[in-house]
């Protein structure tokens, strides 16, 4: 028995789940309908796939949500996991699910997949015959993704960096790398049985003034860590920056660099997809304005040429959206994609060149780290601030890099910290900004820069 299989048996043998029938699950994946695989839909390249966000505690409510989404012509169903399950606290998840089932009141902010188990969940997923994407935010997702794949969920979001730096304060980063290595391997193995399982990185990070170079580097590294383990279908992603041009440049550079680095490790055969998140930062409280913003995000996603778009709702600023609001966004987004035609071809050579140089410089610094494996190099690079994510709550993050918006709302780096931004690029970034402008306080400047959509 392989080491991996040994680990799997340990992980899957616990009191929170039904006995796990490895052979049965393998058989299921082998014969699963191609419609369930997002990789199948990516391959068709018919249109930009539309995927909302959403998860409810009970089976019934989740089912109803999915019905709403299908009615609204969804392409990819989400399954968002509750925060207890994310923290591997299955005991609380079970208790809260029971409470939720007994009353009308939801006691969980997502679907407790492990508690429901794969038999029940598979029934729901095969019923709808739509690809499902697992949204969680779990550093140790080993059990979760086993149950997910067994349920027919063939896209797994996350990664050791993107699900940690924005989502956690204390969880040990090195452990996250190891736990995610398990995830990659399991995905890679299942991918041999049928169409590939797709892995997706979470590019929005903190959604707060993260400069394109940092986002791209993290996307590339999570991609490499995944392809290394044999994953054959991977989505890099990012969220709307606030500048249409920066989005277009970022999308173009991300696509090119992903191809380039995949080739570098001889993984050119893997499919790389580009995913765009509608504005992930602070939303306007006015719901009509929120709708405008969401529509604009869709237009920009089209200009970026994304393969998939992940949507927000008009209720973002207030609280967890209703299923009605969520379905409305899906219908609106599909409509906009349908009526938006005649997209121009746009390239901004100078911006692309600057951004490419930055990405390559940071990647090189990571590769030059003396550690033996890629994940250790990445770990060290985060620890010593070569990679630095603005507004990360995690203790390991340096928080030395400072960014601001220029007149066109492009995010620019005005303090490098330890990030090896080449001098020429750094001068360019600063030259775009009115550094002397700040006659109000720094707090007001930041509030202004993060509140541009309000």
């Amino acid at each position: 028995m392989s080491l991996l299989q040994e680990e799997r048996e340990i992980i899957l043998n616990n009191e929170f789940i039904d006995p796990f029938d490895f052979a049965e699950v393998e058989e299921f994946v082998k014969n699963a309908n191609e419609e369930l695989f997002i990789s199948h839909h990516f391959a068709k390249k018919e249109k930009m796939l539309v995927q909302p966000r959403g998860g409810f505690p009970t089976y019934e409510k989740q089912f109803a949500l999915n019905e709403f989404f299908v009615e609204a012509n969804v392409d990819v169903l989400p399954l968002t996991i509750d925060s207890n399950t994310r923290l591997n606290d299955y005991t609380t998840a079970r208790k809260m699910l029971q409470l939720s089932e007994e009353s009308e009141h939801d006691m969980l902010n997502g679907y407790p997949l492990v508690t429901h188990g794969y038999k029940a969940t598979r029934q729901m997923i095969t019923h709808f015959k739509k690809p499902v994407s697992l949204r969680h935010g779990t550093p140790d997702a080993r059990l979760l993704i086993e149950v997910a794949i067994a349920s027919g969920i063939f896209e797994i979001e996350g990664g050791p960096i993107t699900y940690l730096l924005p989502y956690s304060k204390n969880f040990p980063l090195d452990k996250a790398f190891l736990y995610w290595k398990y995830v990659e391997k399991v995905c890679a193995n299942y991918s041999k049985l049928n169409l590939p399982i797709n892995r997706e990185s979470f590019g929005p990070l903190t959604a707060t003034l993260v400069p394109p170079s940092i986002t791209i580097v993290i996307q590339l590294l999570e991609m490499l860590l995944s392809l290394e383990e044999g994953v054959k279908s991977f989505s890099v992603s990012f969220s709307q920056t606030g500048s249409m041009n920066q989005d277009i440049v970022m999308g173009s550079v991300m696509r090119k660099m992903a191809k380039f680095y995949a080739q570098e490790i001889d993984c050119a055969d893997a499919t790389i997809n580009l995913v765009y998140h509608q504005w992930m930062g602070a939303f306007p409280t006015d719901k009509k304005f929120a709708q405008q913003l969401i529509n604009m995000s869709t237009v920009i996603a089209s200009m970026v040429g994304a393969d998939k778009i992940i949507t927000k709702t008009k209720e973002e600023a207030s609280g967890i959206p209703t299923k009605e609001a969520n379905a409305e966004t899906v219908a609106n987004t599909q409509y906009t994609l349908r009526i938006l035609n005649g997209l121009p071809n746009i390239t901004d050579k100078e911006e692309e060149e600057i951004l490419t140089m930055e990405v390559k410089a940071i990647m090189e610094a990571v590769f030059n780290d003396s550690a033996d494996t890629l994940w250790r190099k990445v770990f060290n690079s985060i620890k010593n601030g070569i990679i630095d994510v603005p507004f990360s709550p995690h203790i390991i993050n340096h928080n030395e890099m400072i960014t601001m918006r220029d007149a066109n709302k492009n995010i620019r780096i005005i303090k490098r910290g330890n990030v090896p931004i080449p001098d020429r690029c750094f001068e360019y970034e600063k030259s775009q900004c009115d550094l002397g402008k700040s006659n109000t306080s720094i707090v007001n400047d930041i509030i202004h820069d993060i509140g541009i959509m309000q």
Partner: protein
């Protein structure tokens, strides 16, 4: 004036927290920022340790209510915290509700000042006024 601040519970929304620290700083407070993901005990322990005048809690992800209910009970266990000014702000419910509904509820939970979806500078201005008025008394 000493302020202990942070974001309560498993909440990791850090942006407002960073800004609050900067703004309190600029207003001349001595700030002890515990950051995100801070439990009630940690807040009270820090308040005791630093002899803080103000405890200013943020909550964004909807967890506030669960924690706020425990405040009175827990605080009563510390005997040096009777005079501390208790402030809470952010997005104080899951889903939507109006301030008219929320503020009295949170006052009952033991907070002196409650800011539901109120801009931080407006909130901190109010805090400063509150402190001045209390000092007059």
């Amino acid at each position: 004036m000493k302020v202990v601040t942070g974001v309560v519970g498993n909440d990791i929304h850090v942006v407002a927290n960073r800004l609050i620290e900067l703004s309190l700083d600029a207003r001349g407070f001595e700030v002890f920022n515990l950051g995100v993901n801070t439990y009630l005990e940690e807040f009270f322990d820090a308040a005791v340790e630093t002899q803080a005048d103000v405890l200013l809690i943020s909550s964004l992800n909807g967890e506030a209510e669960g924690w706020a209910r425990e405040v009175k009970l827990l605080k009563s266990k510390y005997n040096t915290l009777d005079d501390i000014i208790m402030v809470i702000g952010g997005n104080l419910v899951v889903g939507t509700a109006s301030a008219d509904e929320i503020v009295p509820r949170y006052k009952k939970y033991g907070f002196d000042l409650v800011f539901h979806q109120v801009d931080l500078n407006t909130g901190l201005d109010t805090l400063e006024m509150y402190i001045k008025q209390r000092d007059v008394k």
